[in-house]
Point group: C2
Chain length 209, copies 2
Amino acid sequence: MKLYDCQPAPNPRRVRIFIAEKGLEIPTVQVDLINREQHSEAFRQINPFCDVPVLELDDGTCISQVNGICRYIEAAHPEPNLYGTDAKEQGLIAMWDNYAFTQGMSAVADAFRNTAKGFSDHAVVGPRSYAQIPALAERGRSRTQDFMSDLNKYLGEREYLAGERFSAADITAMVTIDFAKWVKIEIPEEHNNLKRWYEAVSSRPSAKA
Amino acid sequence: MKLYDCQPAPNPRRVRIFIAEKGLEIPTVQVDLINREQHSEAFRQINPFCDVPVLELDDGTCISQVNGICRYIEAAHPEPNLYGTDAKEQGLIAMWDNYAFTQGMSAVADAFRNTAKGFSDHAVVGPRSYAQIPALAERGRSRTQDFMSDLNKYLGEREYLAGERFSAADITAMVTIDFAKWVKIEIPEEHNNLKRWYEAVSSRPSAKA
């Protein structure tokens, strides 16, 4: 088994943190996103979506998308649990994880990919060429700030994003906060609940992954 | 238990199909999206994200986001299985479901919400006001057509999106194809694999949900 990875990128980091929380060690292969290795014919055979992370199993099966890889790992290595135990907790964690992805991670990605130089003709992840949209980058910045404000409110109501314990949803939200630094957005000083939570999740050993 | 629903909207339909596949009957409450009932103070208490679907459990817990609701239902009613049995199948279904959502459903939503009259100041789902971006609607249209072309290729390699049996990923992709009709994009005549699959999934009794 091996993980196709790219050290600085946010989505592979979500998987590395998940792996670290499980206490697993999976060898990684670095994919050179700067030089578009993900678009090469060789890499398309591994992942036609042309992105990382990808987990290659020992039988050669390649699973991509953060959700795909993490659901595989959760099923193969159930402890410690990160996607919920009973039905209600499973539902709530998937809900908050999806919220953090669609309203947080995707907003930062809009801000970043629609302005960053290296993505001028690849503003959408994947094999195809799409031009950048400056207005979408601006909207992404506003949404990132609004996401932080909303997170601050929700984290005033409970310890972690989906309840009273750390889950997959916290990984998505934490990596989003760090990704936002790429577009120079940091947690505002007055967001005390968000700061309290961010310090707690960032001080877990897995956060170094 | 009840489902906050809106009959014509695509995301609640994904949940209704999932429920039908499970052979369950859950009463629905229609939310008047046209008149912005989802932004009312009363509905914010049910779902602060201000969207449907939402599943309200008998203990009052409200689970939103399609993934949240469907993961709850899968855990509470495991048969027939829609998210995979062993770890590999669970990973592959989550991968293809995420692909269909991010590259399909989200592309159609970009095309629709950034042009439709009723969304002129609400181009992003949720409680906040964001202006429409015409260039994003255009990009959404291109991406929708590219998504159909890619789906056609993948469905030439196997019977259903994630393998040889119907899964949650097929629901997301099928609802995306129907949602695309809202922006006047239909399956091109030459996409024979996609047409074969679409006819198969659309003829399941659950598709009427």
